[in-house]
Symmetry: C2
């Protein structure tokens, strides 16, 4: 049984990817990061998802937060209201974290070599997304090309493949696929700006994308939103 590294934030997308990797028959090593994000509730969600899915191993690696400043997710100002402009339509939002997916994939590459895996999974998505540059197909292709030159595995004939199975799926398709595979979305956490109890705000980019996805999939989102705000996001 081949091993795969799955990047797991604890959100809807990466949790679905984890189940996709398991459905493909991989023994999953899930990898999460503590990089100074304010919404650390996602890390608790990641642990719950990994445990529920029965992964082989789940590591939460620390990354020096001094390298990831300047994002509204890591303390640089307020997380914007995702309802104000169509998500993904404008400039790169303030929730962009410097080189985050590059760093996450690089760490996953190291971990894959360490455990003898040739498969890395990431839940990036280029349709219903926030407009981050490191979620685009051309970024994933370029990372793959670089990885093919970077590692001992590649040079010795066993390159590590980067899988991005959600790349061209809509959020609704992702949710439908996840439900088929048994993902429990009530324990996943997507919100950038939860309240103290960890309940999602229903207003940030991540919540707006998630809620729209559930609506389009014609399924109720099982997450409990704070102060019922989720309804605001759904009004249009």
């Amino acid at each position: 049984m081949a091993r795969a590294v799955v990047l797991l934030s604890g959100g809807l997308d990466s949790s679905t990817v984890l189940y996709i990797a398991m459905d493909l028959g991989f023994k999953v090593h899930a990898l999460s990061f503590r990089y100074g994000q304010k919404h650390t509730h996602e890390l608790r969600a990641a642990s719950m998802v990994a445990e529920r899915a029965g992964v082989e191993e789940h590591l939460t690696a620390f990354l020096d937060p001094r390298l990831f400043r300047g994002s509204s997710l890591t303390g640089g100002g307020e997380v914007p209201d995702g309802r104000e402009s169509p998500v993904g339509s404008g400039p790169i939002p303030s929730t962009y974290v410097p080189a985050r997916n590059t760093v996450f994939l690089a760490m996953a590459l190291a971990y894959a070599e360490t455990i003898g895996s040739r498969d890395v999974f990431i839940g990036v998505n280029a349709l219903d997304y926030s407009g981050y540059p490191d979620c685009r197909p051309e970024f994933i292709e370029a990372f793959q090309h670089m990885a093919d030159l970077a590692t001992r595995s590649a040079v010795e004939g066993g390159p590590i493949r980067i899988h991005a199975p959600l790349l061209s799926m809509t959020k609704a398709e992702i949710i439908s696929r996840g439900l088929e595979l048994g993902v429990d979305y009530s324990i996943t956490h997507s919100c950038y700006s939860p309240d103290e109890a960890g309940r999602p705000c229903g207003m940030c980019d991540a919540c707006v994308l998630r809620l729209r996805g559930f609506r389009e999939a014609e399924v109720d989102d099982p997450a409990s939103y704070s102060r019922g705000r989720s309804r605001d996001a759904l009004q249009d």
Copy 2:
């Protein structure tokens, strides 16, 4: 005065690169990593080099050592004797650390975006080197291409440039250039397998390359080798 991130291990190559970046007029932010390497003496050397050079900032970032196992530098077996076969001529040596330069450059990219820098320096060298895949020019090119797609800076018109000024220099040329720029090689640390006092062994790949470089540059290596073993490495 533009800022640059310089990856600084504390060895001969990266210390020289730091002085090259300063000579080019950059305000230097040096970045070192604690990733589980056994030879932590290099981190002390990095701090000394950074302080001596008068950099703007020097960060030593922690990287989860669980992701970098399986190298003789991180605890997986003995560091090999570099005198046994010509360095760089055989297969990738056991001192290869999984995806190390990919991870280091990814972190440098994040740091550069964080501090508003568009320049990252790395001391890779493709002539007198140990045969690591992630020291080759094609790897650096591929990383640059990937970085051009990955970051907000690149999308908004200010891509971050990866500089590898030592790429096609011999070790002797690097040393001569460093001496011109005032590098104090007595405080740099290259050895993979120092004794308890931190003195280099004179026998590992890194020592063999360094000693050969000083010999070819016709300069004495100011480092104090343990038990005078450096002379063994020089006999041929």
